[in-house]
């Protein structure tokens, strides 16, 4: 088993809320589709934000094997933001050449290839605002993969999507995992549907790990830690 994210004794408090995460220990495995589940306010998104570096000032250790691609929760600003699909996807390459003024040729080629793989290349000139919710998530996943094609971290990628579209997103992630050996770490509310596709489940309750193991065991109720 190869670990891509190793978290040791991670604790985190917001100024307004104490102990959102309490001494968390988890390892995320390479090439697996892992889903973090838990009630609202359990600390799932906080954990992701610590991993991708948005939450500073935690105690404990987070070691990440390589760079990760990130898909944050949708923001209100994006609902009527003028941007083409190409502009959004290409922006994902920023972390590869953070100090250059323009995009490099490699970045453009990478973005084009990923857009082709995710089936959005033909509509790349279209505006992000004119897309359906499912297509928008596809674009944002492509953007995350422009940062790296090894590990992506997604925060509620199917929030607000209808069940059919959500299923398509999971199927696409499952396919990417199998074809490219992509490791996926996702936070989701959508337990019933999402867990059909995931290998591992991490359940958080009040900032503590309640379950960490195979999806199959989780669903049958065995092996609870």
């Amino acid at each position: 088993m190869q670990t891509i994210i190793d978290i040791k004794d991670l604790s985190f408090s917001y100024p307004s809320k104490k102990d959102v995460l309490k001494k968390i220990n988890i390892k995320v495995e390479k090439g697996k589709f892992t889903c973090i589940v838990g009630e609202n306010g359990s600390g799932k998104s906080t954990l992701l934000k610590c991993i991708v570096g948005l939450n500073k000032g935690y105690t404990g250790q987070i070691s990440i094997d390589e760079k990760v691609g990130y898909l944050p929760q949708k923001t209100e600003i994006q609902t009527n933001f003028p941007a083409s699909i190409e502009e959004v996807v290409l922006s994902g390459t920023i972390s590869n050449n953070i100090n250059s003024i323009f995009y490099k040729k490699d970045d453009k080629e990478k973005a084009s290839r990923i857009m082709k793989e995710l089936g959005i290349y033909d509509i790349r000139k279209k505006s992000f605002i004119d897309l359906s919710g499912g297509q928008q998530q596809r674009v944002l996943i492509a953007r995350a993969m422009c940062a790296t094609e090894k590990t992506i971290i997604l925060d509620e990628p199917t929030n607000g999507l209808d069940p059919k579209v959500a299923k398509q997103i999971y199927e696409m992630l499952d396919k990417l995992k199998k074809e490219k050996n992509l490791s996926i770490l996702m936070v989701s509310h959508d337990i019933d549907r999402a867990l059909k596709y995931t290998d591992k489940v991490i359940e958080i309750e009040n900032g503590e790990i309640k379950y960490n193991g195979d999806t199959n065991n989780y669903l049958t109720g065995g092996d609870i830690k």
Partner: protein, 273 residues
């Protein structure tokens, strides 16, 4: 028409105004795209009022170059205002409204106590192309060129930060640094532009070109290019019409912008029906 234009540009004050105005309009419009998308449309209004307050104080204290004093003061205000945006307890729109009206009140109170409401004050409020001195022109040109160059250098990062701040942070961009750069540039452009456009009207050249462009164009690059063109066209048309009809330049520029906004809105409706 051509004769009028030739007659117009004989005047050295109009030459100065055209040079400074085109550059300032362009920069304001470029910054405006980011500010409008980030829901900071009102920031120009707030900052110009603070600029007005500082100018009146500086004038009352006898400074002959109040512009140089106003710039740092307005920069500090801009940084504070954009910081407040991160604070969930105070909404940034109410913070801007608060600072904006208070600053205006301070400015008006000081002028009442000192010079009284004379033409100078009127020029501060509504702008005047005659108000530009030689040194103002030099300052405005230098500042505008710096803003335009920085915009091009940071264009890619600005897009990412405006579109998705969390993604930008996770990608390793120093979001705060760039937000501060935007704040500083906006502050500087407002101070150099308010002499011509006036305290009450300067924010329009920041928001109008972006809003107008967004009626029709739906990609970031097109919106930026269109805003840049619109800002200069509206400025030149505004100054021409103001010369012909003898209407305040600032007001005329805003009106041209308004008309173009309405035209773009109608075109958008026609295209989408």
């Amino acid at each position: 028409m051509i004769e009028t234009i030739i007659e117009m540009i004989q005047h050295s004050f109009i030459q100065r105004a055209i040079l400074v105005g085109s550059l300032v309009s362009l920069c304001a419009a470029l910054l405006g795209v980011s500010l409008v998308l980030k829901r900071y449309s009102m920031i120009g209004d707030g900052l110009s009022h603070v600029g007005f307050a500082i100018l009146t104080i500086a004038t009352a204290l006898g400074f002959t170059t109040p512009l140089y004093i106003a710039i740092p003061g307005v920069i500090i205000t801009a940084i504070i205002l954009l910081k407040v945006g991160d604070n969930k307890k105070i909404k940034s729109d109410s913070a801007i409204a608060l600072i904006s009206s208070s600053a205006l009140a301070i400015g008006v109170a000081i002028t009442s106590l000192t010079t009284g409401m004379n033409t100078d004050v009127c020029n501060f409020m509504f702008g005047s192309i005659l108000a530009m001195s030689e040194s103002d022109v030099v300052l405005s040109v230098i500042v505008s060129i710096i803003v335009a160059i920085l915009f091009i250098i940071y264009y890619r990062k600005l897009f990412i930060i405006t579109f998705d701040e969390d993604f930008a942070k996770a990608s390793g961009l120093k979001v705060k640094k760039y937000t501060n750069i935007i704040a500083i540039l906006t502050a500087v452009i407002i101070v150099v532009g308010m002499r011509m456009m006036g305290t009450l009207l300067i924010s329009s050249i920041i928001i109008f070109p972006a809003l107008t462009s967004m009626r029709i164009f739906k990609t970031f690059k097109k919106v930026v290019i269109s805003s840049a063109i619109i800002s200069i066209v509206c400025f030149l048309l505004g100054i021409y019409l103001s010369y012909i009809f003898n209407i305040s330049t600032g007001a005329m520029i805003v009106l041209v912008n308004l008309v173009l906004f309405i035209i773009f809105t109608i075109i958008d409706k026609i295209l989408h029906d």
